[in-house]
């Protein structure tokens, strides 16, 4: 327990003191939320009650993706290339506790991010509507999927490649993940692709869970469950601890 706690503290501190990481985990989601809520520059879904009813769930999706996938893959990739993972393998911490500490850190950072976005959303006139249980369940499933993708990259790619790939996916998902505009406003083929990727399923779920209410569509559930199970499995089987 003591090694796990020491590691979890360290993981959280490292996540919250990395400038570039804070930009994608907090900075960009906050800017997008404030900017688009005030300017209404992009289309909203026809069912939206207000700009924030769509943008708060959307930017929360962005935040969860940033922590689960972008910052965890970059950090873990750097640790792998610096031999940190290798060195920690020969300490009493061990790999299971290391993974547990990483998951703890991701969840703690996400809670902070979601709290910041919720407060800003409320100030911008958001009225939460729906079901917090569904919200938590969707967030956890999606985190598992995103973290799986992140670790898949961290365990197989060079750290320089990971930085490019993770930020690239982040940017693409920003546009086709139902985050800043509904996927229904995308061209047909891209909309279909978006429904297969994990971001749009989460934004759709959160939109119903805390934006406008109503049930989460079946495709989103299927999408989240498959990614939540498949990506970590794939990561676990392909992960190489040394570069």
């Amino acid at each position: 327990m003591k090694p796990y706690l020491a590691q979890a503290r360290t993981e959280i501190r490292l996540a919250l003191t990395q400038g570039e990481s804070l930009l994608v985990t907090i900075g960009i989601p906050v800017i997008v939320l404030i900017g688009l809520s005030l300017t209404k520059a992009l289309p909203l879904p026809s069912t939206a009650k207000s700009a924030t009813s769509f943008l708060v769930p959307g930017t929360m999706t962005l935040a969860i993706m940033a922590t689960g996938m972008v910052s965890s893959s970059i950090a873990t990739g750097v640790e792998r290339s610096y031999g940190v993972l290798k060195r920690l393998g020969a300490t009493p911490l061990g790999r299971p506790a290391l993974m547990a500490a990483k998951i703890t850190s991701i969840l703690v950072v996400e809670i902070l991010q979601l709290a910041v976005l919720a407060v800003i959303g409320l100030l911008l006139g958001w009225h939460p509507e729906g079901n917090w249980g569904l919200f938590a369940l969707s967030a956890v499933l999606a985190t598992s999927g995103f973290a799986g993708i992140g670790l898949l990259m961290a365990g197989t790619m060079k750290s320089e490649v990971i930085i490019g790939a993770a930020n690239g996916i982040y940017l693409i998902m920003l546009f086709i993940g139902g985050i800043i505009m509904p996927i229904s406003s995308l061209p047909g083929a891209i909309e279909t692709l978006a429904r297969l990727l994990p971001a749009a399923a989460l934004s759709e779920s959160l939109y119903h869970a805390i934006g406008v209410g109503g049930g989460i569509p079946l495709w989103a559930w299927l999408n989240m469950v498959i990614w939540a199970i498949g990506a970590p499995l794939l990561a676990a089987t392909s992960f190489r601890w040394e570069q």
């Binding site: 020491a6 590691q7 503290r9 031999g83 393998g89 020969a90 009493p92």
Partner: protein, 319 residues
Amino acid sequence: MPTIEVNDLYIAYGEKIAVAGISFKADFGEVLTLLGPNGAGKTSTVEAIEGYRKPSRGEIRVLGLNPHKELSKLAPSIGVMLQNGGVYPRMTPLQALRLFHGYYKKPLDIDYLIELTNLKGTLKTPYRRLSGGEKQRLSLALAIIGRPKVVFLDEPTAGIDPEGRLAVREVIRSLKSQGVCVLLTTHDLEEAERLSDRIIILDNGKIVAEGTPEQLMTASSGDFIRFSAPSNLDLSELAAELNTAVTEERAGEYVVSTKATPEGVAKLTSFLASKNIAVGDIRAAKSSLEDVFFALTGKKMDSEVVGEQSDRHRRGRRR
């Protein structure tokens, strides 16, 4: 039960055989050094003993455990200094020491370790901005923070600064006095000679010699006297006078195969005086590990490192 026991260890990476069937043991309170040029199989061997690699064949026991399968049981009792890295690049030495302090049941005092490895001036500098020597010293401190029973130091003096060299010596002496088993790898002959109780010389994945530094050096060509004088002296007369072999190694550089006793030196100088030969200098030279290594493998320790691990700073040879 030996502390470390290696039986017929083979390690292959695909087609390439890194370690080709070696066996050895090490005990508590012993400093065992694996010596050899880069590519000899030292790191592969050590990493297999640390549990990082699965042997292709053969058996390893550390404190009675199989390190690859039972690493989690073994980890609290071992300390590891990797050849490179091992610390978060953004972490300062103080943060790293505190983190590792949290991993162990009865860790050493952090201030004591800072003092021992002379890290005081670096405590607030992120790891990636430390000098090579500072990184090595931190890595050494982290290897011993958990009061290990077995310590693995992989090239602890490669690229190290003079302070680090002293710290390594100090730490090894103190570990040995506490009965810790230390497994060291190096291609640095001087360090091997100075620090080891026993040395295993590896070449191409095989053990080519094994023994205490003294045994290894006595077993080879023995001691000799070197002197410089005008080239092309008549060696046969000198050899007959001294009753031993004399060779001209290079023009004007002579080697007399006799122990550098006062008597031997006196004989040589009186011969040179009688012939009125101008002498540059006379040195009594002990056979070094370098000579031993050369005699065993026909290679110089530093000869084949070009291109391999070229990022590592290499220290000059001592002679």
